[in-house]
Every structure is written in structure tokens, then in C-alpha cells.
């Protein structure tokens, strides 16, 4: 299971990094989503991997799993979901206003328009 989890985190991170380096906003959105999936799995693993163990203290149970990473993952999921939604809306706005979906800034941002 360790191999499965760590390779999943690694592959998703690699895919995410590749995608956020692309020039189109759709790929960047997918990339940040991939990265946040990878990081959620990673946060899970920080409490050590335990299978079939309760997260709260209970009488007569010897093995417990750490509940804190689960709470952190919940918070992280909510936040990354909300942030991704904002990014999608903003990318949509930039596409409608600017006419293309590139993420780099056009030349007009740095130099006056007339001396092209």
C-alpha cells in the first residue's frame, strides 16, 4: 500500500507540475487540481498509514489512526475546491474580456500600445 500511495502522489504531482507550466488557462486549472489531489493524499500519509483502525480513542482497541491529518485534509479540500472555483471564474472572465485563454501577459502590459 505504501508503494501504491506514494507512486500515486508522485505521478499526480508530476502531471500537475507539467500542466501548470502550460500556456493555456484550462491546462493550468487542471494542473492545480491535480496538485491539490496529490497534496490531499500526502497529508493523509503524514499521520502514518493505518488500515481498519478507529480515529477516536475507544476502550478495548489497541491500534488507532491519527485523526488530525483527516481534519487537515477536510480543510484543505474545502479551501482548494473554493480556490479552484475562483480560478475557473477568473479564467473565464479573462477569456471573455481578453479574447484568448493564454496565461502569459501580452506585450501591451509592459509597453505603450502605439510603439509596437
Amino acid at each position: 500500500m505504501e508503494l501504491l500511495l506514494s507512486s500515486a502522489i508522485g505521478v499526480m504531482t508530476a502531471a500537475g507540475i507539467y500542466l501548470i507550466l502550460r500556456r493555456r488557462s484550462f491546462a493550468v486549472v487542471l494542473g492545480t487540481t491535480m496538485l491539490s489531489y496529490a497534496i490531499n493524499l500526502f497529508l493523509f500519509s503524514t499521520g502514518r498509514l493505518v488500515v481498519d483502525a478507529p480515529p477516536v480513542l475507544r476502550d478495548g482497541v489497541a491500534a488507532h489512526t491519527d485523526p488530525l491529518p483527516q481534519a487537515l485534509v477536510l480543510t484543505a479540500i474545502v479551501i482548494s475546491f473554493g480556490m479552484t472555483a475562483v480560478l475557473v471564474m477568473m479564467a473565464l472572465g479573462a477569456w471573455l474580456e481578453g479574447g484568448d485563454d493564454r496565461v502569459d501577459m501580452p506585450r501591451d502590459d509592459r509597453a505603450p500600445p502605439e510603439d509596437a
Partner: protein
Amino acid sequence: MSHLLIAPVLLPAVIGALIILWMRDDLLLQRVFSIAGTVALLGVALYLAGLAGTGQIQVYRLGNWAAPFGIVLMLDRLAALMLLLTAALALVVQLYATGSGWDRKGWHFHALWQFQLMGLCGAFLTGDAFNLFVFFEILLIASYGLMIHGGGAMRLRAGVQYIAYNLVGSVLFLAALGVLYAVTGTLNMADMAARVAAMPAQDTALLRTGAVLLMLVFAIKAALVPLHFWLPSTYADAPGPVAALFAIMTKVGIYAIIRFFTLVFPHGGTTGQVVAELLLPAALFTLAIGQIGILGSRHLGRVAAFAAIGSVGTLAVAVAQFSPQATAAALYYLIHSTLAGAALFLIADMIGARRGDLWLRPGPALPWQGMIAAFFMASAVAMAGMPPFSGFFGKLMILQATQGAPWAVWIWGTVLSTSLVAIYGMARAGSVLFWQAREPALPAPDPEPGPPGPIPTKLETHEPIQDLGDAASPALTAVAVGALLAGIVALTLLAGPAMRLAEAAAAQLHDPAAYLGAVLHGQEGTK
């Protein structure tokens, strides 16, 4: 335990929510409530500064849970200083936003402003690493809304970059926290400091990885080279008052570096050593690139943005020393550079409102040209760190504090030569804008715009640059900029007392035992 410790977080949260729920259609009510809220926040910050001035570290346990388990807020001298600076800056810039009419260029300006303040105050107060992440996200999501306030293609494009960059930063932050939690088993900063200190040096490989990841996150927030690429377009395309408030946002990154790497990973340990060795070259490059960028920019907004990068570089040079003397100099320069940076952005906005754009090219003479030129010159001199303003003292003290450092020659060389570059860049911008202005002025510039009249209930959008005809009160904008410059003059005249306060704050920071004692001991009566 004073319950007022939570007020800087609760007050803006409640006011922001009330503005959205009750006053969304009434801009006048929004303005009154929002400004009153910021005044109250300033009052609370003053009270808390008095409380922190006793030298005692105040701890507020949320829900009265015992320390490593519940979330704590910590108020020390540094946190109180940052709160006070945030509240004062927010009030002045908010007056500018109201006076210039920027707040009616789109919806929810004042609500977002309050949520931004909530995130900033929370980030300065919290004593829990994961809670710091949450407050970072609060201030970021409010800043996304503020940054694209008013709309426009260029601003939205810059907004996409800004969000994408910060999303990656947030992911890195979570990764860093995950690593640190896996190694130490705690997220409370004081508890983490105790466990890190007790860890044998040969077991700290993973800890060092976590610390460096954390440093990268804060470097993104502070816009240190090579993680600064989001800043120029974001700040140059953001509305003027929003960019002025963002002057404190890069300082949040600097604050977090100071907080973590004096408390959790102090310089004496191997982990702190690694971070200091990485931070100093990055700081020197940031300083150089920022000041050269001033010279290379063709847009006044970008001039101000690169000046902000340069000032963060100067700050980071001092912070990277991790000595009490250098930290004190950094805190003094932090106050100065926040005020000067904000003033520069507001003045750029005043110029933009009168010219219609911010390109550095000869244009018509502006209404109120003399006053604006004087303002620009004052803020440019302050930003470049020349006498007679406080930036000069700040740089002098930073140079003094780095005198015996191993990299002293590089630090002195970079700070002094880039100051010259900055002066040259600022002088070039000012002479193009003001001395090459065409005469006569605009066909019939009305130096005294008519009475502002009633505020229209319908908000206008899609106007990238504020034009003077919309201004509710141009005099108020001048008062706001004047207040920022007066703050710089006060910081210059009161350099002695201000420096003593900074030294007291730095001495407190470099004594982590006091934090551990305040947070982890004496917990009778908690759950």
C-alpha cells in the same frame, strides 16, 4: 487573558458580513460602516499595542483548550506592531478609495476590504501553523476579489496569474505543513519549537526539507527572486488603493519568515542555518532586480511594483542575518517601506486619474501638477532610501547591522549601488511625467471639480482607470496621501523611540523560551 485579542479577527469578519447582508445596495452606508469598523480596529490595535508594550506575551486559547491541542493566538510586540501598521494603513487607504470613487467601480469593495483585514490580522496573531495557512487563504481569497475590482481585460489576465501562482503556493504550504507534522507530530508553533529543539541533529533531514519548503512558501508571498514573477503585473494592474493595501501583503511573507525562523527554527540550529544561507543570496538578487526593474519600466504602476520588490529585498537582507540588531533594523525599515510603498501606489493612481494612463511618456500637464509632483518626489526619495526620510535611517541601520557579517562586502555593495539605480529610475520617471509635460494644460482643466453630488446607486464597471469626473472628493485623496507621507516624516523625527521599540520587539523574538513558557506552561483552568 484578554478577550480583546480575538477582536482584530472578529470585528472585520462581522462588519464584512453585515455589509454584504444589509447594505449591499447602499454605498453611503457601506462607506460609513466600513470606515467606522477600520477606526475601531485601529483603536483595538492601539490597546493591544499597549498590552504588548509591557513585554508580556499574551496568549488567547480559543475555546479554552489546552495549548498543543487547541488553537492559540499569540500577541507579542511584533504582532502588535504589524496589527497597528495594518489598521493605520487600511484606514488611510480606505479614505483614499472613498475619496477617489474607486469603491464604486464594482460590487462589494468594502466587504472584501474587511475580509482582507480579517485575514491579515489573523495571520499576524495566530500561534498555530495550520491556522496560519487558513488565514493566508482568507486574505488571499479577499485579495483576489479586490485585485480584479473594476474589471478590464488586463486586470483579469493578471488576476489569473496571481491566483494560479498563489494556488501553487498554497499547495506548497500544505506540503511543508505535512512534512513538519509528520516529523514533529504537532502544529502549534511553540510546541513545534520545543520538539525541534529536542531533536538530535542527525535526525533532522526531513525537518530541514520541511523548513526549506516553508521558506519557499513565504518567499512566494514576499515576492523574493526567483519567485517574484507574479508581483509586477498584479500590482501594476490592480486598482491603486488595492495595490497600496497590498504593500502590507509582501510584508506578511517577511513577517512569517521572521516568526518561524526565530521561534521554531532558530538560527543556532542546523535547520535555521540552512535557511539563512538560502535567504541571503535570494534577498540580494531581489534587491538588485527590483531596483533595476524601476529603471527598466515604462509604466508608472510597474515602477511602483518593482520598487516594492526592491524594498522587500532590502528587508530580507536584514532578516537573513537573524541577529537581534539586524531584526530591529528590519522592523524599522518594514514600517517605513510599507508607508512609502503605499504612498507611491496612491500617487501613481492620482496621476493615472488625471492623465488617463500610466505610461512613462510626455503628456499634457496635469491639474494639481505642483502638488502631485511634490508628493511623487517625496515618496520617490523615501522609497529609494535617501535622506532626509526614514528610509535612509533604515538602510543605514541595516548596513550597520551587517558590518561584521561574512557577506558584508556583497551586502554593502548591493545595497549602495542599487540605491543609486533606484534614484536614477525614479528621477527618470518623475522628469518624464512632470518636466516634459506639454504646455498649455488640457483644454479647460477644471482644478476644482464641482460638488460630488449624490452617489449613484447603480455601480459602473469596466473602467480600468479611474477618471477625475467620478471622484467623490479629490481633496480627500490628497489628505490620504498626505497622511501617509506625514507618517514617514513622523517615523523620521521619532527615529530614536521607534528604533527602541523595534529593538525591544527584536529582543523578544530572539528569546524563544518566553514563547514556550507563555503558551505551554501555566495552563490551569483550561479544558
